[in-house]
């Protein structure tokens, strides 16, 4: 069963100077329990894709979206805004790049956790939510959950906030987790730890993941399948092993041969732009 099925997704923005096309017909599938990576350079259209899946970009008046985005059999684009919001935080959730700025500075972690848990169970009492949050924080290996629940985000380290955000994202056992360059704002070792943590938890729960990254090393470790995106087009896709063993598309090859700027964490710099990058999509199969 496909959890996410994207077919011929187009996105454009109305701007002051006219119309810009950002996505030019994306196809992407994620099976139940599958971890899929979307890789590409900055500005290639990764985050907007995630925001369309979440149903957020549909509320932006300047965005023009067409194509099919089926989540668990329902067409997101055809839904009402209210129904889309109903899926967020329950059936799908998101992990953000910088955990500390993604948590509200005016509320304690405990307060924010309660709000998240009440998305699934609106009548959840404060005490019950505290108990549940404690268990969940325990599962992400946070040593003193009670203290963390009473703290504000700025009182915790980035790594700690990252764990909190992971626990929140998985609290309502969503079917799909979107992770937009998680932990890129943190240092490399913390980033590696959190990726292992995410992988263990989603494998336990059978959660599907759309993992967005520009870091090929991380993607290779994490994903079952990979889509390479270049300027709003998927240029190559396939099972991680097959794709890394035998990259076919000129852009994928350039990405892989490029030297990362900072070991393990930085953007690989593709030295030059080639017309070959615009060659048609190559698929290694593997999708449902």
């Amino acid at each position: 069963m496909s959890i996410l099925h994207i077919k011929d997704l187009h996105l454009g923005f109305k701007t002051l100077t006219g119309h810009v096309d950002v996505l030019h017909g994306i196809d992407l599938d994620i099976a139940a329990g599958e971890k899929v990576a979307l890789v590409g350079e900055s500005g290639s259209g990764k985050s907007v894709t995630a925001r369309i899946v979440l149903g957020l970009l549909q509320e932006t008046r300047t965005a023009r979206i067409s194509g099919t985005v089926q989540f668990d059999g329902q067409d997101i684009n055809a839904m009402s805004a209210r129904d889309r919001a109903g899926l967020r935080g329950t059936e799908m959730s998101m992990i953000f790049q910088d955990p500390t700025s993604a948590l509200n500075p005016m509320f304690t972690i405990g307060n924010q956790f309660t709000e998240v848990l009440r998305r699934r169970d609106p009548k959840l009492s404060k005490a019950a939510s505290h108990a549940r949050a404690t268990t969940l924080l325990d599962e992400v290996a946070i040593p003193d959950p009670a203290r963390v629940l009473g703290a504000y985000p700025f009182q915790l380290s980035g790594g700690m906030n990252q764990r909190v955000m992971i626990a929140m994202a998985l609290a309502n056992t969503p079917k799909l987790l979107l992770a937009d360059e998680p932990g890129t704002a943190l240092d490399v070792s913390v980033q590696a730890q959190t990726l292992t943590l995410i992988r263990d938890l989603v494998e336990q729960n059978g959660t599907s993941v759309l993992f967005i990254s520009h870091n090929l090393g991380v993607v290779r470790e994490f994903a079952d399948r990979v889509y390479v995106i270049y300027r709003g087009n998927i240029v190559e896709d396939g099972p991680t092993d097959a794709l890394f063993a035998n990259p076919q598309h000129a852009y994928t090859r350039a990405l892989m041969s490029a030297v990362p700027r900072i070991t393990g964490a930085g953007l690989p710099e593709v030295p030059e732009v080639s017309d070959d990058f615009l060659a048609p999509r190559i698929s290694h199969g593997g999708a449902l």
């Binding site: 953000f96 509200n104 998240v116």
Partner: protein, 342 residues
């Protein structure tokens, strides 16, 4: 908690310095403007001897520093001197007129916050849409005229042509209410006279609205601006990604962080109402401190001028301290200035 206490002591210290500065400045200015206060007080028929003795009594022949020393010593004893205009102790005048002004300013401040903030929240939540444009027009309209112009307009419209509200005064003449606090809305309730309470509120509404209007526009624009900025923050996208209701995101997730920068300015606007009240009081014949202040300035009534300015400065400083404390209480970063957890 120690963070708040430290803040309070700090603000009190600063306020004291400001107060000393203000009193010296006003003291100097009041002595420099031409005209002999003793001569003015005694009127045209006074003879040179009478004037000389009053001048001595008022220490007017001493040097300025000595005069200021006398003044400070008196103030510390709670003695602001006699008003030459009313022939009563200045403290007594202030006790009579200040509550009327505060009653007006408090209600106006409340109206400013009660309407300005929700309008700003509405505009920010629907930024770029018709609600936003409507609030912008309202805000521009209210800010475009100062309080006393609104006072005249409102009075003409709703007291004169359409006599819904009384034209002047604080309460109908038929009531004789014992002054306990000086706040008529409170004193009428203390004696349990509901009709008088109604009359006091009725008299209060138009001047309070006139005084608050430009503040409403400013508070709305400020709240909108700060909230629109907050809406760009990652934690708002996160709240949206969790499917929280847009109204809840507006009122809580976006509004609270943007309230802190707004509050400082709103506090200043509130304090500025003390000054704007001068002309609004004049229009509505409101027997407040501002009218008293104008009267004593025109008569060069030194003690009364000093007293009035000092009281207004103190009120201003108290409002500022309260605003600072509110910000500290609202902002967990200040509340926990000593890192509680790490």
């Amino acid at each position: 908690m120690s963070g708040i206490l430290r803040l309070l002591l700090n603000r009190l210290g600063i306020s004291l310095i400001v107060l000393v500065g203000v009193s010296m400045l006003i003291f100097a200015i009041a002595r420099i403007i031409p005209g002999d206060p003793a001569r003015i007080a005694l009127g045209p028929n006074a003879n040179a001897e009478q004037i000389a003795s009053l001048r001595a009594e008022m220490h007017l022949d001493a040097s300025l520093p000595v005069q200021y020393g006398h003044f400070v010593a008196d103030v510390l004893r709670g003695d602001l001197g006699m008003s030459l205009y009313t022939n009563r102790p200045v403290t007594q005048d202030i006790a009579q007129f200040l509550p009327a002004t505060l009653e007006l300013v408090f209600l106006a401040g409340f109206i400013m916050v009660a309407f300005g903030l929700p309008l700003g929240i509405l505009a920010a939540r629907h930024r770029g849409r018709w609600q936003d444009h409507l609030v912008r027009v309202i805000a521009l309209l209210t800010v475009s005229a100062p309080g006393f112009v609104w006072a005249v307009i409102l009075m003409l419209l709703f007291a004169f042509y359409l006599p819904l509200f009384p034209i002047a005064g604080r309460i109908s003449d038929i009531y004789d209410i014992e002054r306990t606090t000086g706040f008529l809305t409170i004193d009428t309730l203390l004696v349990g006279n509901w009709a008088a309470f109604g009359s006091a509120v009725h008299h209060l509404i138009l001047p309070a609205i006139a005084l608050s209007l430009s503040g409403i526009g400013q508070a709305a624009r400020l709240t909108r601006a700060n909230m629109v900025e907050t809406y760009e923050k990652p934690y708002i996208e996160m709240a949206q990604a969790y499917g929280f209701f847009p109204s809840r995101i507006a009122r809580s997730y976006a509004f609270k962080p943007s309230l802190i920068p707004s509050l400082t300015i709103i506090g200043l606007d509130f304090a500025a109402m003390l000054g704007n009240a001068f002309l609004v009081e004049a229009v509505f014949a409101w027997p407040g401190l501002s009218r008293y202040g104008v009267a004593v300035i025109l008569r060069k009534d030194l003690n009364a001028i000093m007293g009035t300015v000092l009281i207004i400065a103190i009120t201003f400083l108290i409002v500022n301290i309260i605003v600072d404390l509110m910000i500290a209480f609202l902002n967990p970063r200040i509340r926990y200035s000593t890192r509680g957890a790490s």
